[in-house]
Assembly symmetry: C2
């Protein structure tokens, strides 16, 4: 098998994304919004949440799983809060709209929170809180997801592997961007081991009986993921489930089905918040403080074999700079999947064979 490696600039990839979404009856403005969010994930090297998901989204847009023409309505609004109905549209749209509202409100009041119900997967979580950075606001996003983690001591997947993303503006340094899920590893890694016929390390997943296992087929699809830090990660996931699923009136916990068919809406909730960096002290002082903390962390002594210390989000920022200059590379299976989608729609992906 020849290795298929392709390289494409962000503009070309965005163009392809938009074209695919347009074929699924997404409006041009919405397609642009979604493509921006998806390509940003690939630019930052968060490949699991970028255009690799395009075939999945496309099938769901054609089915009843996702509404290509959602009417995002504001169900409730105060100076600090808003609740949106996502109308089962793509989560990226709801995320951009909700975070925009949170930013507007936080610019006026210093802090705000916006919830969304009846929505779906929003891709890479960092995109939304990072929207707050240029306004000197700390951004936060979380959502709930189909249950994949059993409670501590339990066997039934009850709580989602809910992501938590926080973006903190810096002065001269790179902003701090924390983007983490609540499991030790994502289901994707367990699936990969399953496909490759490999064992998984103990501590990644549990059998349906709640036993630790090295066998990926005991974890997927009927077992559960192990939360990071054990009960701590599970506790955090519960808090995220409350913020995004319960407070918003979305569907949550075991009421959520695994949306594995293209016709099953996700019905999840999102939660976005923004907080002024200048809540307590003048903005320049706060930003200098973040710079100082970043420099302290980076100037730590290095363990053997370590050349450099990274803050959360720093690797992604540098990957983005490289990707903007040299293009985004795609390899193997993803190339084939996207080519398949393109050929099905009679579209051309403007990428080139990479050296």
């Amino acid at each position: 098998m020849t290795t298929m490696t392709r390289v494409i600039h962000a503009g070309g990839l965005r163009h392809f994304c938009e074209a695919v979404l347009r074929r699924a009856d997404v409006s041009q403005p919405d397609a642009t919004t979604i493509a921006d969010a998806m390509v940003e994930a690939d630019l930052r090297g968060v490949r699991s949440h970028g255009v690799v998901l395009l075939p999945y989204y496309f099938d769901r847009l054609l089915g009843a799983g996702l509404n290509p023409r959602p009417d995002l309505s504001i169900l409730q609004e105060t100076p600090h809060f808003a609740l949106l109905d996502g109308d089962n549209g793509m989560g990226h749209l709801a995320g951009v709209r909700a975070m925009t509202i949170a930013i507007e409100k936080a610019k006026a009041q210093g802090m705000a929170a916006v919830g969304v119900r009846n929505t779906s997967h929003y891709g890479a979580g960092a995109y939304y809180p990072m929207m707050a950075l240029e306004y000197d606001l700390i951004g936060l996003a979380t959502c709930n997801t189909a249950p994949s983690m059993a409670p501590w001591g339990g066997t039934t997947p009850t709580v989602g592997n809910n992501p938590l993303t926080v973006a903190i503006p810096a002065g001269e340094e790179t902003p701090i961007v924390l983007d983490m899920a609540m499991s030790v590893v994502a289901f994707g890694k367990i699936l990969l081991a399953l496909r490759q016929g490999k064992k998984i390390p103990l501590g990644w997943g549990l059998t349906p009986q709640g036993e630790p296992t090295e066998d990926p087929s005991s974890v997927f699809p009927y077992g559960s993921l192990v939360p990071f830090g054990g009960h701590k990660g599970l506790g955090l996931a519960v808090v995220m489930e409350v913020l995004s699923g319960v407070l918003t009136g979305a569907v949550f916990g075991t009421d959520l089905e695994l949306a594995d068919g293209p016709d099953v809406p996700e019905r999840i909730g999102h939660f976005y918040a923004a907080l002024a960096m200048s809540a307590f002290i003048p903005l320049p002082e706060a930003k200098r403080g973040v710079d100082r903390l970043i420099r302290q962390v980076k100037s730590s002594g290095k363990a053997s074999g370590i050349n450099r210390i990274y803050l959360p989000g720093e690797i992604e920022a540098e990957t983005k700079a490289r990707s903007l200059e040299h293009g985004i590379r795609f390899e193997g299976g993803v190339v084939a999947e996207l080519e398949k989608l393109a050929s099905r729609l009679d579209l051309r992906i403007g990428w080139e064979e990479a050296s």
Copy 2:
């Protein structure tokens, strides 16, 4: 050696705490406030953060480490925010004052955040966000602490083992109370192993060279704690350091010294926030939702050997109910330490020998 086990009711323990604090020149109202917070930790079984710390606080109140008569001033205030100067008083006082302000503001506006600088250790973090529960607010507290964790790949303790506490009101069920530090284990456990001449498991601490070790003496006092979930726990600790240490204009990161002498002020910061449960949907619906999620989690299938599933804060709530009925038990070293303090001050601890 005879095992010394003592039992005391909350009222008696509170009385002793107040008497000790009064001897250190703390005012009666402040002594009451602090004693309440300390005894609540023991009632809930969070023994590491209750009256076991009294001798430590007492010496610091006599020295310059803690100001027994702090004048808590509001440095800055808006409808959503306040910044307090803790005047190097006990963190419990600043915590109660700050959370009270956050609650008042969130009752009016739906959300609020209060910061404190120039403050100190506040005991068990759960006390403050739990104050918000009766007002149907979600409470959050964090603070920064002397650096004890190296960044990922690093060797220099740079970031504190900063606690995160969140309290979420329920309807009929027990409120969810998450209270966690960012390390795999607290320094206390490593010290205990050191005193007992025992090894520690790999994964608890690092040597000053950043190497994993089983030798507690390589970790304390010059090595570092391992963050829970690796880079995830460290990332969360950085976020907590920003909220409590940077945004408040407190001292943070490596600018903080380990306050190991009774004359060294801690100079840390606190961060408190409150959010209305009814931010997006009517309160009864939100509380029913939390109940529903709690019941889903608790009705999970149980792993072998597990009889019951607990939500965060549930064990502590049941421990408190038992302690209120049967008193709080103290054993061994702690009994001796507190008796020593009592005899030094010519005070009597109103406890009894336990059967």
